[in-house]
Subunit: 351 residues, 2 copies
DNA sequence: ATTAGCACTCAATGGGTGAGAGTGCTAACA
DNA sequence: TGTTAGCACTCTCACCCATTGAGTGCTAAT
């Protein structure tokens, strides 16, 4: 809504027509096309004049002198902020999504995975869903299990039914009574705390109170730390990577390869999705707004999910800048809604 | 070695030269090239005659009348069985592999993943490594942990430090003494057995002996079954999928897409790798020898790993039929060796 | 202010041509 | 009899060039 009056109403509708058309056809669109297809009641020459203005203002551009116009990143930006209409999903699409999301889930990660698959299917682009990121999770409980004489399984349970475990081996035999004692002690001193509340003094104290040697205790704490780290580390699922090959802008093999390779870089995707999601409910990164050079022909749409006031993860769609923004927005919103509902079911008060 | 005398010594060396050259250049190779580059002491006309024979026998073919020859699948088959020389890996390549495989591993799956990455890096093709497939695993122990009043964590431990768990929720409160009893009972009746040895009668018996209601017992057994299933299900890691885009045979976007999509089909890859690995130490599937139509331009080389006489997993390399077979074979063999060593370390007597 | 008309630009298309690589065949040779 | 030099032939590929068509900008008329 900044500089709202830079564009007259007529210019806006022409720009909208151009972008709508271009998104659909992938071909530079000329004045005649606009005059014919969209009923603006204007002759092609008039539109030509307006288009010249729009070009000067930087919203559209010509690939070469005698071609039609294509939107610039600035054009798309104006489009998503002011012009685009978000047509709601078709009934059967909604049903498809609901069906996928409502199936019985055993694990939170299963849900995430399914969400990414369904988004990429519905939109036809690449979808990324980042798993709940639980910074400073409260540990619900820690259990030690003696597997055999020399091996010990450490199980850490966090909110939302997230469980991680780690096996550790000892050189010497492990005293069964130690395990018993530790389990009791852990119940008291660890349960309900976050990892950073469990400091070295606590360990020392433990060591004094119950008579367990340091050589046994240290690896156990390392394992616990490791489990907590795994719980707190956000990972993500990406689906529909090869979808981008469907779009003519990536007909060039080198370009396609470049993009496919970028999408394989976990670090980059992570950063991308993470960053984008901080500010707003719905965040757009269009073309060159992405810092990464290889992504200057891609747009990323992200949103957060979670419980009211507490966002725990991110959903993202990656596609060519020439993207069906309206459809993607409605898809992503709908899935977020369902995801939120499930999240509340699973995590309950644990968030 | 079948029909060994179908090809004279001279035809063999010419065929070898053609294939070696073609693997390297990806261009149809002509008689002059052979006469010049490879010192066979023959004129191009002689080679032409021999090539005509080889073509009639089906080992090579011409894309068009005035082009050189390219190997057929039959040609490659003969090549891998009789002609190819397996040049050993370079020192630094071996070092690279060793380094990757020797790093400390916490989990068996971590090892598998790393193996697939290193193979695809070394060979430049797509690598698949299938995780240990433990049919009818012996369950080492089963533990129940009460998480809170209504939730129960079932932990199943199998050989080789493989652990799976599952959380189940109950509507009603769970009696702490039940958990205790069950843990003791499980120790006796389940530990050391395989899943199919735990039949319904056992459950019945359990139900009679210890006084735990059916509504509690059934979900627990389902959870155990589920964990065992997860343990026994082989999954695999695939790496370097986009590598195929490096090779000119997939310059055509449609073809590339087709292949990328196939490589995404877990079912197909699974089948492919699994099947190929049964018969021999080292199995080749060349081009159309793969039943799947989309793979008629790909070759798959597989081998099994595990302990002597007990193969538990498979390694595979997928690339264009025009593959550097010699190098792939030596890479795959070397990695198998290292993998076997680690497997023994991890699983010990549990296999 | 709008638009019809016109000259102009540029990419894409398709036919034509020559170069180059490679073959098969024939005849000569060892 | 096996080998090879020579030659006519085939086919692809790269390049040129003319044509086409879509689209523009500008001007003059409405």
């Amino acid at each position: 809504m900044v500089r709202d009056n830079e564009l007259s109403e007529r210019k806006r509708s022409i720009l909208k027509s151009i972008i709508d058309d271009y998104i659909q056809s992938a071909q530079p669109v000329g004045s005649r096309t606009i005059a014919r297809k969209h009923e603006l009641g204007l002759g092609s020459a008039t539109i030509r004049n307006e288009m010249a203005d729009l070009e000067e203002l930087g919203y559209i551009t010509q690939p070469h002198t005698s071609a039609g116009r294509t939107p610039t990143d600035k054009g798309y930006r104006f489009y998503v902020e002011n012009l685009m209409q978000i047509h709601s999903l078709a009934k059967d699409e909604m049903a498809l999504i609901r069906k996928a999301m409502n199936e019985k889930i055993e694990e939170i990660n299963e849900l995430i995975k399914r969400a990414s698959t369904i988004i990429s299917n519905i939109t036809g682009y690449t979808a990324v869903v980042m798993s709940p990121q639980l910074t400073r999770t409260v540990i619900k409980s820690v259990k030690l299990l003696g597997i055999d004489e020399k091996r010990l399984l450490i199980v850490v349970v966090a909110g939302g039914g997230i469980v991680h475990n780690r096996l550790i081996s000892h050189d010497s035999l492990i005293d069964g009574s130690h395990i018993e004692k530790l389990n009791q002690a852990f119940n008291i001193i660890i349960s309900g705390k976050t990892m950073d509340q469990i400091s070295m003094p606590v360990v020392k104290e433990l060591q004094r109170d119950i008579d367990v040697p340091k050589e046994v205790l240290i690896p156990i704490f390392e394992a616990i730390e490791d489990c907590v780290r795994k719980i707190e580390t956000a990972d993500f699922y990406i689906d529909g990577v090869t979808n981008i090959l469907n779009y003519p802008e990536f007909n060039d093999l080198m370009k396609a390869r470049e993009v496919l390779d970028i999408l394989k870089e976990k670090e980059i995707i992570n950063q991308l999705i993470f960053e984008g999601s901080k500010k707003q409910q719905l965040e757009f990164k269009i073309g060159s707004e992405n810092e990464i050079n290889e992504m200057k022909d891609l747009s990323v749409i992200t949103t957060v999910y979670g419980r009211k006031g507490k966002d725990i993860g991110t959903i993202g769609v990656i596609g060519p800048t020439r993207m069906t923004y309206g459809k993607v927005v409605s898809s992503i919103k709908y899935i977020r809604e369902l995801l939120n509902r499930e999240i509340i079911k699973i995590f309950g008060d644990d968030l």
